[in-house]
């Protein structure tokens, strides 16, 4: 049969967010794959420049609906470094606690999505049911299921008292019990193994070459974890194991994520037992002296990098966010090559992509002429007015009465 070009996305049931994969197929086998991102540019970085640091913190927390604490912590760490403020140890422990709870629910969510992509909807439903344990816990600690709002510049906003600690420990018992079941299911179920073993291989060398991050790289045997290599907040005091695996395929990524959840549970217990006393926050200056800093944070999906440059006012001069998916997306071309069309959804899902968090505009491309360039605010506004006028919508008439 002749080669077929099939577009997967930007709208497709396998994708939770808009992205486009141009696949060329020989029968069911993939002979070429190109990844096109950029359908959901939200202008996050530019918007930060119009907000003061505190506003930025809560704004950047909303980059991602799953790893919101990652972005918020990475940003506050970076700003605190620029300002030269050291946050109290108790606040550091609370940040770790929320971060690890977030890792639990993120990996659990991923497990369900992976099950769904493989047509294993029972795994999807059950893992999302047990994910609710963590979500409810987060809601009871922070008042919100996502976008916890626990961070503030110079510390955290809420304390973990004895009753909350009791609740967390109780939920952890339940969750670890459920986790045992999922680990045995994910590693021993025959059809699941048949669909994940040897699928979407990313070798150690390729993981290094393409700069894969997080569980994707650790499943290729790349022993790299920011929490250990460049400890932030309280991770320097906390004993934990960095999980690696040598399968280098989707199965390896399942194993790494499953075992990472066990480690996260241990970290949570350690943090609760060893939480130092003291204040929750220190006073943070409104204006920050000129300077710049780079913050690295091990988000559930990989390394999250924030860069902040201040110019002495209460607003940042420049904020740069690199979400982990950008680092992992480059390896798609290698992972997809030679696999079956049927494997595309699980390979795409296996890096736990978050395309909307990733999109940053590099250049504006005119689809008709292929011209590249950039548009300033005025030109963009004029372009949209003209575009709508061509569609028959005239905004200048909208506000007129009668």
């Amino acid at each position: 049969m002749a080669r077929v070009e099939i577009p997967l996305g930007p709208q497709h049931p396998a994708l939770k967010e808009p992205a486009n994969f141009a696949l060329s197929l020989d029968g069911e086998r993939i002979v070429g794959a190109a990844v096109n991102l950029g359908y959901n540019h939200r202008g996050v970085e530019k918007a930060c420049e119009a907000r003061n640091f505190t506003q930025c913190l809560y704004f950047l927390e909303r980059i991602c609906g799953i790893c919101s604490h990652s972005h918020s912590t990475a940003f506050s760490m970076t700003v605190e470094e620029v300002a030269g403020v050291e946050i109290p140890p108790r606040a550091q422990y609370i940040r770790v606690l929320i971060g690890e709870l977030e890792r639990l629910h993120s990996h659990m969510l991923w497990l369900g999505v992976a099950g769904h992509e493989l047509g294993f909807d029972t795994l999807f439903m059950l893992s999302w049911r047990d994910r609710e344990l963590v979500m409810d816990l987060l809601a009871s600690i922070c008042g919100n299921r996502v976008n916890y709002g626990i961070n503030k510049l110079g510390g955290v906003r809420r304390d973990i008292d004895e009753t909350v600690k009791e609740t967390i420990l109780k939920v952890m018992d339940q969750f670890e019990e459920a986790l045992k079941y999922y680990i045995s299911l994910a590693t021993t179920e025959t059809t699941l193994a048949a669909r994940t073993l040897g699928v979407g291989i990313l070798s150690y060398e390729d993981a290094v070459t393409y700069g894969a991050q997080g569980p994707t790289s650790r499943a290729a045997g790349l022993d790299r974890d920011i929490r250990r290599d460049e400890p932030y907040t309280a991770y320097a005091d906390i004993p934990f194991q960095v999980i690696t695996d040598t399968h280098a395929d989707v199965f390896g990524r399942v194993v790494v994520r499953a075992l990472e959840m066990v480690e996260s549970c241990k970290i949570i217990r350690f943090v609760l037992d060893n939480m130092p006393d003291g204040p929750l926050s220190v006073k943070f200056p409104r204006k920050i002296p000129p300077g710049e800093a780079l913050g690295r944070y091990e988000a559930p999906r990989g390394e999250d990098v924030h860069f902040v440059k201040s110019n002495g006012t209460d607003k940042p001069e420049r904020v740069k966010v690199r979400a982990p998916t950008l680092a992992n997306a480059a390896s798609y071309a290698v992972m997809l090559q030679g696999n079956y069309l049927a494997d595309v959804p699980i390979i795409v899902a296996a890096i736990d992509p978050c395309f909307s968090c990733t999109d940053r505009a590099i250049s504006v491309v005119d689809n008709r002429s292929g011209r590249e360039g950039s548009l300033d605010w005025k030109a963009l506004r004029q372009y949209s007015i003209d575009w709508y006028r061509n569609q028959g919508v005239a905004f200048d008439g909208l506000n007129r009465k009668g």
Binding site: V4, E28, G119, T122, L123, M125, L341
Partner: protein, 309 residues
């Protein structure tokens, strides 16, 4: 009387109604196994009525007559097949010599129609879905037939009604057919395109496979045909492999319902407990596991026929 049989009971109306019941039971069990609540009892009927009222769009590149005719052909084929399947006793309403083969051929029309529908709809997803329907057809159709040949040889007839009557009289012989029951159920799962053999309509890969471009009442009738198939395949299985019959038509009918629902339950548990296999894994499973098993079953039945009958 024949018209009543064909149109009302056990023909079109009963089959359509029972099909929606079976779909509801399937969805409800599936939901409960996943710790969900599941749909209300009228959901399949409501879906059907809603689809009937929807606008129908025919792709410009497709042959409109074929596009519209295919759903009707599938419903007609599966209804006709059901007329030769025993419902309330051991005798079907229209039995004849060799009806087992005719039933299988009529049921073969379904995947062929799905293939034609997907190919005709001319969208990328439906074309790939159509291709997969046909690929998978070669995997399950042979074990499906082989599983029935074993019991047929033992009884010496190619008619479903004769086979049912034979095992009703000598129920112990049905024990020899247990491998056939397993093979039939697994192959039927493939024919029904359900997990783990649902590659032709894998929604995360190719949207809705061959049905991607279908909508409105055409889709409604395709879904109805699939629901009916979900009755007919367990019904054949119940008639051939499970020798529970009664001379009383009413009790016989209740037994029929029980048999189909129990078999459906097995199919649903299978669907809930597994991930989707790739089409080439499905092929390997059918040719390397199901077919040798079917051959062994056939061999045993041949020997048993020589020794015991």
């Amino acid at each position: 009387m024949a018209v009543l049989y064909i149109l009302i009971f056990p023909g079109f109306l009963f089959l359509a109604f029972y099909g929606t019941v079976v779909e509801f039971v399937d969805r409800k069990i599936y939901a409960r196994l996943q710790n969900r609540k599941g749909p209300p009892w009228f959901q399949p009927v409501a879906d059907f009525i809603k689809l009937l009222g929807k606008e129908t769009i025919v792709p410009t590149d497709a042959n409109a007559t074929l596009f519209k005719a295919l759903p009707i052909i599938t419903v007609a084929a599966v209804t006709t097949a059901f007329l030769s399947v025993p419902v309330w006793g051991t005798q079907a309403v229209m039995p004849f010599k060799g009806d087992m083969i005719v039933v299988l051929v009529l049921l073969l029309l379904l995947p062929l129609s799905f293939f034609a529908a997907g190919w005709n709809a001319s969208s990328m997803y439906s074309t790939i879905g159509a291709q997969r329907v046909l690929t998978q057809l070669f995997a399950y159709e042979v074990p499906l037939l082989m599983a029935l040949i074993g019991p047929a040889i033992l009884c010496g007839s190619w008619s479903l009604s004769d086979i049912a009557a034979f095992y009703a009289a000598k129920p112990l012989f049905a024990l020899l057919n247990l491998p056939g029951l397993v093979i039939w159920l697994l192959a039927a799962q493939g024919k029904l395109e359900r997990v783990p053999f649902d590659t032709p309509e894998a929604e995360t890969e190719i949207v809705a496979g061959a049905f991607t471009e279908y909508n409105g009442r055409h889709l409604a009738f395709f879904r109805l045909a699939v629901d009916m198939e979900l009755v007919v395949l367990p019904a054949i299985c119940g008639a051939v492999f499970i020798p529970l019959f009664s001379a009383n038509p009413f009790i016989g009918f209740v037994l029929f319902l029980l048999k189909t629902l129990v078999l459906l339950f097995l199919l649903t548990v299978l669907k809930a407990a597994m991930a989707r296999l790739r089409v080439e894994q499905m092929m390997r499973f059918s040719w390397m596991v199901l077919l040798p098993l079917a051959l062994v079953h056939l061999f045993i039945n041949l020997i048993a026929k020589g020794l015991l009958l």
